[in-house]
Structures are given as structure tokens and as C-alpha cells.
Subunit: 110 residues, 2 copies
Amino acid sequence: MPRAEAARFDPAPVFAALGDPTRLALLTRLSDGQPRSIAGLAADSHLTRQALTKHLRVLEGAGLVGSERSGRETRFAYRPEPVQDARAYLDRVSAQWDDALGRLKSFVEG
Amino acid sequence: MPRAEAARFDPAPVFAALGDPTRLALLTRLSDGQPRSIAGLAADSHLTRQALTKHLRVLEGAGLVGSERSGRETRFAYRPEPVQDARAYLDRVSAQWDDALGRLKSFVEG
DNA sequence: AAAAACGGCAACCGAATGGTTGCGTGTGCG
DNA sequence: CGCACACGCAACCATTCGGTTGCCGTTTTT
């Protein structure tokens, strides 16, 4: 049996997770590679800890961050794969468009 | 006066628009460059015309498609800019991550 | 041992979403 | 002219979303 397909990338949940300013800000902060606790992240935010928790769970659900409990705190860390996949997805859309444009130009120009 | 800044790109609405499977499918179909009418798009979809209309308006709101009325039908066409901007945004996130990884490695390795 | 910090769980709330149906209107065709 | 097609608008509905508050358990700190 062929080795298990890497669970084909599903773009919609990732884009949905990125589609919120708060989550986007969280991800940007975490993308410096440093894991942070929920309280740490909530410290310089006007939102509640629980609100942050919910957002972090959404990001986790999309695979954009991972969580690990350590003692009394839960640290969240950036995970790069989904972003790469999303980039690749947009690349394909772009490529299809470029192809279409190319064909159109050669049609118009003769 | 310096020429007007190109209205700084706001990523969240674009990602939000992409965060729905139906919309993603619509955009993919339109990214072949051919404008299509609402009825045309609704034809091979299990959804209602109005449902499609709403999704198309969302895409339009994010700048991902443009609409133009022609006679009795409204044609929607793919617009590439937001996708490029979104790609660039993800590139920056990726780059920040790569930088962080680089610094971490040099720290660990000496 | 007591207090404080970190966080999970559940309930609740208003607003936004995704979808539907019904109706009215402009456009095009026979 | 008259009918059918392609839409826009509005109302309505169930569900999800973003956010809050309150409470309880566990891990640190003092």
C-alpha cells in the first residue's frame, strides 16, 4: 500500500482562520517562533483571556499553531506548514489566471 | 503631493472571503479569466441564484471579482490583485518565521 | 497552608452568516 | 404585444461567531 497521502490540504478552514484581524495579529506575533502562554498573549490585548483562548483554538484547528501544556500554563507555537500550503494554493490560482491571460493575449495579438 | 498610496492592503477581508468553500470554488472557476453571469454560475450548482449572488457580492467586496451589468445579465470577472497581495502577505509571515528560525539555529549551533 | 496565577468549561448574548422564499422590474425574443 | 429570462430587493430563519461573565481545578509562589 502506498504511503498515506499527507491528508490533502483543505484551504478553506485555513483562510477562514486567517480571515479575522485578531487571529491574524496573534499569528503574526507567534510567527517570530517564540511560544507564548495565553495569559502572556492576553496581557497586551484589550480582549479577555477566554476570547483569546477561542481564537487560539481556531488557529489550532486550522493547524496554524500548536499547543502544549507545561505546568500551569499552555504555550502556543506557530506552525508554518498551513501557511506554505495556502501560499501554494494562491500560487495555483494565480498561475491559472496567468495562463488564461497568456492564451487571451496570443488570441488577440494573432 | 506624493501620489496617492494604493489604499494599503487589508488582508483580513480577503482571507475571510476565501474562507468559504463555495466562494473558493466560484473564484477558481472565474480565475480562468472568463466572465460569467450569475445564472450561468448557478446553473451547475445545487444552491439558489440568490445564495450565489450573496457570495459573489462578498467576493466583490474583497475586490476578488468585479461585476458589470450587460443587458439583462450581470457578468462577474476575476480580479487578480487581491490574490497577489494575499500571497505577498503570507510571504512576509513566512519570511519572519524563516528569520526567527535562522536566528534560533545560529544561537543553538554556536 | 494560604494566596495568587494560569487556564478549562459552560452558559449566555447580540450580531453576522449562509441559506431560503416571494415578489417586483428591466431586457430580450417569438 | 406578450412571455420568459436574469436580476435586485426584502423578509425571514437557523446556525455560527466573537465576546463576556462566573465558577472550579490545578500549579506556583510566598
